[in-house]
Chain length 329, copies 2
DNA sequence: CCTCGATAGTTATACGTATAAGCGCTTGAT
DNA sequence: ATCAAGCGCTTATACGTATAACTATCGAGG
């Protein structure tokens, strides 16, 4: 520990016998800088020897870009699939120089939300498309955000979007239940804010197949599930929104003496590992996503670097639902 | 949209007819600034009208502090309990002006890791204590990190630590299994890097009660679980590290025709909602944590603001394990 | 009238980086 | 011999904020 504070580019410059500007040019591989290979090496050696790490905030201030990929959604409430996807996306983004920041925040929409987000000067932002407006997108762009990506169940007129086709998920589940001879179908719609929209989308899909399918709103608690399970007029086939709700409901049904799948067939979604671990094993809608974390990271990188332009309305990925039949249906 | 870029404190100053310094004094409620209440209002009005949001990077550069609470662990691998706790902690920290950043990153240790972390100039950092050294703590402190909190199974000589007493978790589970008449005990140790240490701690606790308990290393895959479940010399009581591993193992045992709990009793840990949803319901070690998210957020805030000093070796919280007996044991 | 102290601000500066602009030196062409 | 052009660097500056240091005004007290 020779020095007490982390080394700056000025320290590196002094150690290499050059100016601070040269250090910056070399370490950023700036193409319009003319520096001899010999000097480049001296700089790189000095940087390595001192253990130089650029100050993220200074770089952000100077460039107006932060390398932050902001995800202002609360993945805890979104289910295991999204949570895992975000974790993987973060891993893929890091080696490219980005930092994925989760900003669990659900109250704000439109311009007020955009102002809060803009304070972090994120390089990119991935957010539910329904929280965006034309003005908020403009604000973000003006404040240095290079890439705004929506997250939605339909292409967005404002931004490119990661699209989950919720209707086809619901339809896929309902078709299966109908084939199994179930006539009185229902779809669970989560009561949680934010998630409910997806639930409604999936319900719509169910009703494409079974127009009179019942809508059951359900909070994620055991009491709420019990209330549903003890109804006297239970449907005989339920699409439970996702695997977690499916498990919650299935447990309550078993407690109430209702047999799954004999009395009521249950279909989940996300095809979590969980689904094959519980008994009865859970039939689930699996997503064949074309948006692998690596692919999304590369796409974001291309947009940020300007190698590709972000067409509003364009779709990053459609999740193709496919049913994994197990024993709960 | 009058302006195209987000307003700065200079814009607010111009709008309020004062200097930029005054704006800063007012909006930060700086106590040694002498500003009349009338002017304060003018400034606040102007800021509100323009929708001013301070630039996080400029503030960080100036102060050397970022408001970032860095958590360089990969919660996806840590289990549902830690993941939920971090989500809640983030919610609690936000209104206090901090931003919790998860930095899923497992390779680095000691000074190299500290250098990467220091690049973000975090205000506080919560990290596994075994990834810290004296030198890395010094480096973090020197680079402006006010608070370094360890995460460990024992008090740390370097920093205050959130302590999970893994041994007592294992002992709690083992005592229960022994009372149930189980004689050939085993404890699962996850094969995942980082988590394995906690697994070993819990195994130690099991062996305090049953000295010859077997150690079973298990990767989190169905194949690995099947390999264990089809052994001919199965133990009759297994502490499965946590609920997720317990469910994985229980499923494999059921597939192999082994009855739970008749042939093999299973105990999990974390007492996730999951545990009461599966069949048989999972006996689990519940944590009575004194470290509520709100309490931890307040503690961090006090340390950062200097209202409290961080005594190395001090313990933020001990998790008191308590068994929730259900039907898997 | 002058000083003093308080009040209510302002001016100036630094944080660490990226980059535009400039500057001396060499080289090749005329 | 002179000039232009290129090379290899340096100098200077701006990003937006927080804060130390300073200044102008005013009322009171001598």
């Amino acid at each position: 520990m020779t020095s007490n504070r982390p080394p700056t580019s000025v320290d590196v410059a002094r150690a290499a016998g050059v100016s601070q500007a040269t250090v910056s040019y070399v370490l950023n591989d700036n193409p319009n800088a003319r520096v001899s290979e010999e000097t480049r090496q001296r700089v790189r050696d000095a940087a390595a020897r001192l253990g130089y790490v650029p100050d993220a905030s200074a770089r952000t201030l100077r460039t107006g870009r932060s390398g932050i990929v902001l995800v202002p959604l609360s993945p805890a409430r979104t289910g295991g699939l999204v949570r895992d996807l975000l974790d993987d996306l973060g891993e893929e983004l890091r080696p490219r120089g980005y930092t994925l920041v989760q900003y669990g925040e659900r109250h704000l929409k439109g311009v007020p939300a955009a102002k809060v987000w803009a304070g972090l000067r994120p390089t990119a932002i991935i957010v539910e498309a329904d929280r965006l407006t034309r003005a908020s997108v403009d604000l973000l762009r003006a404040s240095g955000t290079r890439t705004v990506i929506g997250f939605s169940d339909a292409p967005s007129p404002l931004v490119p979007a990661v699209v989950m086709d919720h209707e086809s998920v619901g339809a896929c589940a309902a078709r299966h239940l109908a084939e199994r001879g179930r006539r009185r179908l229902a779809a669970i719609v989560p009561r949680e804010e934010g998630v409910d929209l997806m639930g409604v989308g999936r319900l719509r899909g169910v009703r494409q197949v079974a127009p009179d399918a019942e809508r059951i709103d359900l909070a994620f608690t055991e009491e709420a599930a019990r209330a549903v399970a003890t109804r006297h007029d239970l449907p005989d086939g339920i699409f439970a929104y996702n695997d977690e709700y499916a498990l919650l409901l299935m447990s309550a049904l078993q407690d109430a003496g209702v047999r799954v799948p004999e009395d009521v067939a249950i279909v989940g979604a996300d095809d979590l590992l969980l689904a094959s671990l519980v008994r009865p094993r859970l039939t689930s809608v699996h997503f064949d996503t074309t948006a692998t974390p690596a692919g999304m990271a590369a796409y974001i990188d291309e947009l940020v670097r300007g190698d590709r332009t972000a067409e509003p309305g364009s779709v990053i990925s459609i999740y193709g639902p496919r049913l994994i039949v197990r024993s709960s249906s």
